[in-house]
């Protein structure tokens, strides 16, 4: 191999890191660019299935694959944990491999659950944002005989912003099927003065919630949780008692990001919104949930970001000019209940339209793990 061969180093083996690596491999020449991925996840879980698994609407075995088999030929996967990132000297440190240098760095470290930020969370709340969480919740729901269920999120931002309303609609459907709907109150809390971030989608979703008899509590910013009295309290002074609390945990960026001086205590990295560079570093990029961009933290976002970055870096390595920019484009399909779903397309400057729901969109969502593992994750689409 010639000495001019460059090294692209990708930190993270979740959706963002894997799609980034595989797309970059497709777009670039093996002789000109080597690609390394550092990550420590033995299994890769398709998180959107969290709105199916707790209800038995989907077998969870279809939602998980061994991480090591998900990288394309020509991508070196290093099972290791990054302990520091030195962007000035173009290297990272890991537990097992020591220092790893790079020409291009892609930070795809995602985010983490910060349940310590809400005392009582581990004792009193359930969630569906991990496979373990979804399976625990499945057991809780199987034991549930009726009462008051509160669904919501502990804070903003979270991964996949539509997931709380998707879950709520699925829950309503599940309770109907179990014959428990008449015995159960469903309460949905949301931090803003609507039921979803995007106003026009929120109007559509709120109407559906009203039709399904879901009680909405807007501007409910979670302040505290009392596990003994089973009461959730808001900053705004509202209190809701519950029999079952399903609360998306507080999120933060990874500790290594903060400890490396790349972000504040929240751990989300400030990036150029149109080019995805970290500050003025020409060779450091951030992709997926690790950014502080004002768009969804979701695999669908990482998919579009990776396409842009893979084209850009491959052009640079090949010595070609590249003039495009990333415009915040995202597409996602979200469940609206009764085996219906809507697909949203949006960007920084173009809000989504929520006009209709359909069973075909639900089918698209239900089968999306197949598409994800066979094509999207491999960088084929």
């Amino acid at each position: 191999m010639p000495n001019s061969r460059k090294t692209a180093l990708i930190l993270g083996d979740g959706a963002s890191g894997t799609i980034m690596a595989n797309k970059l491999r497709f777009h670039s020449d093996l002789r000109q660019l080597e690609i390394k991925v550092v990550g420590n996840s033995p299994a890769h879980y398709f998180k959107p299935d969290g709105v199916m698994i707790p209800f038995g609407f989907k077998d969870h075995s279809k939602s998980v694959k061994p991480t090591q088999f998900l990288f394309n030929h020509g991508v070196e996967y290093i099972r290791d944990t990054v302990t520091s990132i030195d962007v000035q000297n173009h290297k990272v440190k890991t537990i097992n491999s020591g220092e790893i240098g790079y020409d291009y760095l892609f930070i795809a470290t995602g985010d983490r659950f910060a349940t310590d930020d809400l005392p009582g969370y581990d004792k009193a709340a359930q969630h569906f944002y991990s496979l373990d969480g979804a399976l625990r919740l499945k057991e809780k729901l199987a034991e549930f005989k009726g009462g008051k269920i509160v669904v919501g999120q502990a804070s903003i931002p979270i991964q996949c912003p539509p997931a709380p309303y998707e879950f709520t609609f699925q829950l309503e459907q599940y309770l109907k099927l179990k014959g428990l709907r008449e015995k159960t109150e469903i309460h949905y809390i949301y931090p803003l003065n609507r039921v979803f971030t995007m106003p026009n989608v929120s109007t559509f979703i709120e109407k559906l919630m009203d039709e399904k008899g879901i009680v909405v509590h807007k501007m409910f910013n979670v302040d505290s949780l009392d596990p003994d009295s089973k009461t959730l309290s808001s900053l705004e002074g509202e209190q809701i008692p519950f029999d079952l609390l399903i609360l998306v945990p507080p999120h933060k960026g990874q500790k290594v990001i903060t400890e490396s001086g790349l972000a504040d205590e929240n751990g989300y990295i400030d990036v150029d919104r149109n080019h995805l560079n970290y500050r003025d570093y020409d060779n450091v990029f951030v992709v997926g949930d690790a950014t502080n961009l004002p768009i969804s933290k979701a695999g669908a976002t990482a998919h579009f970001e990776s396409e842009y970055l893979a084209n850009r870096i491959a052009s640079e390595v090949n010595g070609n000019a590249f003039f495009e920019s990333y415009n915040g484009e995202v597409a996602c399909t979200t469940i609206t209940g009764g085996q219906q779903a809507i697909t949203l397309f949006f960007s920084y400057n173009k809000p989504p339209r929520a006009n209709f729901q359909s069973k075909s969109d639900y089918f698209l969502k239900w089968t999306s793990s197949d598409t994800y593992f066979s094509a999207m994750l491999r960088g084929i689409m």
Binding site: I156, P191, L192, N193, T197, M219, L235, E236, P294
Partner: protein
């Protein structure tokens, strides 16, 4: 505006719900009597932030048009 802010959040360039979430974060960290000011260029925040201030039982001291952005000022009363 008579009261000088004890905390200023510059959220210009950040989109909804970013500026409101920054305001709420400052509220949680502050003490009763604090005056908190947020600078924003996001039009949605101009509606959302005053609504939240009212709902949370705090006091809106004003919304001021500045050059190229606006400033929302609140007083923490609870």
């Amino acid at each position: 505006m008579d009261e000088k802010p004890s905390k200023i959040i510059d959220a210009r360039g950040s989109f909804c719900p970013g500026p409101l979430m920054e305001l709420i974060k400052a509220y949680k960290q502050g003490k009763v009597g604090d005056v908190i000011s947020v600078y924003s260029t996001d039009e949605g925040t101009k509606k959302d932030a005053p609504e939240w201030i009212k709902k949370s039982g705090n006091q809106l001291l004003g919304i001021f048009d500045r050059q190229g952005y606006y400033e929302i000022v609140m007083k923490k009363t609870r």
